[in-house]
Structure formats: C-alpha cells, structure tokens
C-alpha cells in the first residue's frame, strides 16, 4: 500500500510531469468527444454521487450564515413589534393580503413551490443553478421555473432534495415564444451561453421595446410567462428569419429565490422523455 502511495507521489512530483499531463489531457479530450448521451450520463453520475452531497454541505454552511443573519433580524423585529403591538396586527393582516396577492399571480392554476438557490454554475456563463427543492417536494424534470419578474428556465435533473435548473441562457434550451403585441410566434435560444436571441419570421413586424412571453407551445412552459424585451433586431443569415436580441426581465446572475410551477409536461413531451 505504502509502495503504491509512494509511486503515485513520485509521478505527481516528477519534474516535468509531461506524461501525467498528457494522460489528463487525453481524458479531457475523450470526455469532450463522447456522444451526448454518454456525456449526460457522466454529468448525472458525478452530480448524484459527489456534487449534490457536496452541495448539501455547502448549503448547510450557507444556511447557517443565513440563519444567523435571520436571527439578528428577527430579534430586531421582535423588539419593534413589542413596542408596536397594534401595528403588528395590522402588519399581519397586510402580510396575508400580500400573500394572497402573490398567490393570485398563479393564473395557470398549478401549485407553486418556492425554492432557494443554493449553487450556481461556477463557470464563465451562468447556465444552470441548483435549488433546494427536489422530488420530495413534488418537483419533477421539465417543470417551468420563474421569478416575480419573469420566466427563467425549467428543471433539468431532480434529486430528492435538490434540483438543477436549466436557465434560458443554456444553449440546449430552446423554447417557443410569442411577441405580445404582434402575436407572432418564434423560438428563443442562446447560442453562446450569455445572450438571449429570438428567431422570428422576417415578414413579422417587430420592433425594439416589444415584449416577448412564452407561447404555450412545446408542452413545457404555460402560455404568458414574460421573457424579456427586444433590444435589437437584425436579419439572420437566412432571409426567412430575423435575429432578435432580447434583454431578459430577469438578471440571471442575481437570482436568490425562485418559483417552480408543478406543471407536468404535456403528453407529447412525456412520451419523448420516456
């Protein structure tokens, strides 16, 4: 055992380490060139066995810090409420009204689960995030995810207590959307993991400032969830479509809490998933 350990150490501390480097590089290239299904298998396996449990540890630290801050705030609030007992009751009534206001937004009549972001894609582009709600809370894959500002994406992989949310900036996520003024339907995509683009037929009249929302086609997103505002319009490489740059309603880098709509995908999507 000791000999094996020493052998590993001697490889690691070898002057140039060139062979070791080539080995790692080859592994990286093999991963890069694998079929998508195998890549997804590797990612899912790594997330399930290492990264989600690790995320749990990280979020525990985060929770602890959050609880500490919350505790401080509650103490302050408690002191204030003792002095203003009447106002407290008023505030509670107001809180109930606000709660109802939040619930009214659910015009799609699907249950909604609130979730907290516990991890983000640590890379250059924010394309996925991890939230603290999973299958034990009723969350399944392919459920719409949004904030009070608008649509942000859908659930991709779901564990019992965690889910991975695929954001609209993920190049793999393409969705059908509709221009709210002209009612023309197109599709939304992000080719580079950073900017959002919509492809709309050239004949359709759209202009900067028009808003876009989900069209309800495609079976995952319900109709009418706001996506963003058109910031520039230009004809694509092919004349039949025009490429439209979108300023999303949501700042993806600043999402802390979000809502998951417990809407199962339509039968056609379910069939494809199965």
């Amino acid at each position: 055992m000791k000999r094996i350990f020493r052998a590993v150490i001697s490889v690691l501390s070898w002057k140039q380490g060139i062979f070791f480097f080539i080995l790692l590089l080859t592994l990286g290239i093999v991963m890069r060139s694998m079929p998508l299904a195998v890549q997804e298998g590797i990612v899912a396996g790594a997330l399930r066995t290492v990264y989600f449990p690790a995320q749990w540890l990280v979020s525990s630290v985060d929770n602890y810090i959050g609880l500490y801050k919350e505790n401080d705030q509650l103490r302050l609030e408690n002191a204030r409420l003792r002095v203003e007992n009447d106002l407290r009751r008023e505030s509670l009534a107001e809180l109930e009204r606000l709660y109802e206001l939040v619930r009214f937004d659910n015009k799609w009549d699907y249950p909604i689960v609130t979730a907290r972001v516990v991890g983000k894609n640590p890379g250059r582009f924010v394309t996925t995030m991890v939230v603290d709600r999973g299958s034990n809370h009723g969350v399944r894959a392919e459920m719409p995810v949004f904030t009070v500002d608008g649509l942000i994406g859908k659930t991709a992989r779901v564990a019992p207590f965690y889910s991975q949310v695929q954001l609209l900036t993920d190049p793999n996520l393409k969705m059908s959307m509709i221009a709210t003024r002209t009612r023309v339907v197109g599709f939304l995509e992000s080719s580079n993991g950073s900017d959002l683009f919509a492809m709309i037929p050239t004949y359709a009249e759209v202009r900067v400032g028009d808003t876009l929302s989900s069209s309800g086609l495609g079976g995952v997103f319900p109709k009418g969830l706001g996506v963003g505002v058109i910031s520039s319009v230009q004809k694509g490489d092919v004349d039949v479509m025009q490429q439209i740059k979108i300023d999303p309603f949501v700042n993806f880098a600043r999402i802390e809490e979000l809502f998951i709509m417990l809407k199962e995908p339509d039968w056609n999507v379910r069939e494809m998933l199965e």
């Binding site: 150490i9 490889v11 690691l12 501390s13 070898w14 002057k15 140039q16 380490g17 060139i18 070791f20 480097f21 790692l24 590089l25 592994l27 990286g28 290239i29 093999v30 991963m31 890069r32 060139s33 694998m34 998508l36 890549q39 997804e40 590797i42 990612v43 790594a46 997330l47 990264y51 690790a54 995320q55 990280v58 630290v61 985060d62 991890g119 983000k120 894609n121 640590p122 890379g123 250059r124 582009f125 394309t127 996925t128 991890v130 991975q164 993920d170 190049p171 793999n172 080719s191 580079n192 993991g193 950073s194 900017d195 700042n251 880098a253 600043r254």
Partner: protein
C-alpha cells in the same frame, strides 16, 4: 506528505465554497472573481506542473458538471492546460516576485478562457465581445483577489524564512 495533500484538498473545497456562495455575494455588475483560477495558479506555482495539471483537471471537471452536458471536457482541458503551463514556472526552480505572479495569473486566465471558448465553439463574431465584457472584467477582479492571496502567503513564507535564519 499526506498533510500537504490534505491541505490541498481543503484549499480546493474552500475554493469551491467561495466560488458557489461568496462569489455571488461580492459580484459587481455581474462580475465575479474566479477562485478556481487563483487556486490552480497558486498550487501550480508552489507544487509544479503535474500537481497543477491534476488540480486543474479536478477544478475544470467540477465546473463542467454544472455547465451544459455537451460542453463536458472543455473546462477540464482549459484548466488542465492552465495548471500544467503555470506549473512549469514552479517556485522551486524559478523565483517570481508578486508582480510576476500576477502577470502569470492574468496571462493564464486569458489562455484558459481562450481554450474554453474555442472548445465550446463560441461564434467567432461574439468572441471579442465576450472577451471584453466577461473575461477582462473577471480577470481584473480575480487579479485583485489573487494579489491579496499571494501577498499574504509570501509574507507568511518570509516570516518562516526569518525564523529559520
């Protein structure tokens, strides 16, 4: 030796925690420091090319599992190359002052970003814009943090040497 490896694992976990939690708290206009790059450069300068490449591989893979599945391997390759190249300037053989370390980090940052963007096939027309709007601000922010880290560790090492002397 085991303690050294444990220390590296501990540092890596700390970086992962910083990158997934603290980085978003301290972001300015959507720009976050990249603690993984600091970690890889720090380890590679101290421990050499092989160890740098290994930690680059691990950090890159950790980044890849949260990225779209078809990008798998891009971050791994970029960070492995970063770790290896920086590790060639290992401090046992070459003495680098704080300024040079920072220059190495900045160049390494851009090289690994360039490799990453090439591998994920960022359209060529948006490559320059992404470099200017994402890579450059993040590089500057990362350099600021790295300066602090390298300065603190160099002070610690200087004190150790004084005690030994």
């Amino acid at each position: 030796m085991i303690w050294r490896i444990l220390a590296q694992i501990f540092l890596f976990v700390m970086c992962a925690v910083l990158q997934t939690t603290v980085a978003s708290w301290i972001e300015i206009l959507g720009v976050r420091p990249d603690f993984f790059v600091i970690f890889i450069v720090f380890i590679a300068l101290g421990r050499g090319a092989a160890v740098g490449a290994l930690w680059g591989f691990i950090a890159g893979f950790s980044q890849d599992v949260y990225a779209p599945a078809e990008w798998l391997g891009a971050g791994t390759i970029a960070f492995t190359v970063l770790g290896f190249l920086v590790g060639l300037l290992e401090e046992r053989f070459i003495t680098l002052n704080l300024g040079l370390k920072i220059v190495v980090l900045a160049i390494g940052f851009f090289v690994s970003d360039f490799i990453y963007y090439l591998l994920i096939e960022v359209p060529s027309d948006s490559l320059t814009r992404i470099f200017l709007t994402i890579s450059l601000p993040e590089c500057i922010y990362t350099v600021l943090f790295a300066t602090l880290v390298f300065y603190l560790f160099s002070r610690k090492n200087t004190k150790k040497n004084h005690v030994k002397g």
